[in-house]
Symmetry: D3
Subunit: 69 residues, 6 copies
């Protein structure tokens, strides 16, 4: 603890996850003053067909404005 859960589109590389885990942990250490060893980060890869905005799956052509994540 603190524990961070990150939901994002599937497709990030291992290097991106590695960098993100490091960056988020450092950010938490700076903002809260906790030791890095106390910070856990979990990634959830969400397929675009499992994420909808404005009622439209992100895998479908947007009826809504384009999404980026």
């Amino acid at each position: 603890m603190p524990t961070l859960r990150v939901e994002m589109f599937a497709g990030r590389t291992l290097d991106q996850k590695r960098a993100l885990a490091r960056e988020l942990t450092d950010a938490t250490v700076r903002a809260l003053g906790v030791p890095a060893s106390a910070v856990e980060v979990l990634f959830y890869d969400i397929e675009k067909h499992d994420w909808a905005v404005a009622g439209t799956l992100c895998s479908d052509p947007p009826a809504s404005p384009p999404q980026q994540a």
Copy 2:
């Protein structure tokens, strides 16, 4: 926001998810008066062997009454 997370048994088709995303978004718009563009829906497919009721995995023959979802 609002953000909805839906846990359900794996196996729904894309069309079912498409309909569910649309229906849930419309329902939220009607009940809360928010614009559709503010509503996000995320689907989590849960395998029956990863969901237990009454201590029995839903992939196992029910010691408990049959489950439907």
Copy 3:
């Protein structure tokens, strides 16, 4: 199951939650063909100072465009 979790700004009335629970359940029944008795809905009220968009707490004046939820 299915189980729905709804994160939204705090401040909705009991009547709004009652309507939303009903609407979301009906939507799930229509889209998935499950019985209403199988559907659970949980509400999480999130204070605006606990929800940030674009790095700005929703309780702060927007550096980002105004949010509605």
Copy 4:
């Protein structure tokens, strides 16, 4: 309800999940006095490259002390 969500490293066998579902349900029944039929347990298998401690993915050699889960 109660509903339990378990995040753990991927790789547990079906028998381990079966035992864990049973054990967690029994524990909840004992501690809270609810009927077993009211208890749901959901398992989330998290790959080691999706779980970081101290800013290091659990699939990478530990800069932090070794993790076990």
Copy 5:
């Protein structure tokens, strides 16, 4: 890790939570063979007006069969 999240009706005493944390941790140790120090448990107290079954808030008189949790 493993990390367990428990959603249950608000109103449990500290002693019940203390017992439940202990029981769930012991159950996880037995079923998975992890050390107790690796197990975290988080409790989420959910008000009955924030939990709906069959489209009815659990704080309302049941249109559905009575719920217990």
Copy 6:
């Protein structure tokens, strides 16, 4: 999206949350190359009596090593 959920001990000030939201968002922008406007962060304050490690509530004297978060 991406959406980050942060569970941490209750008691952080608004300024700490403000800083954390900013830092986490910046970290995500740097690591993933998404625009800041796409990043949401939600904070969950967890009381120490609702978080257990090694089977002991964090509000109780540690049978386990002291926790910091």
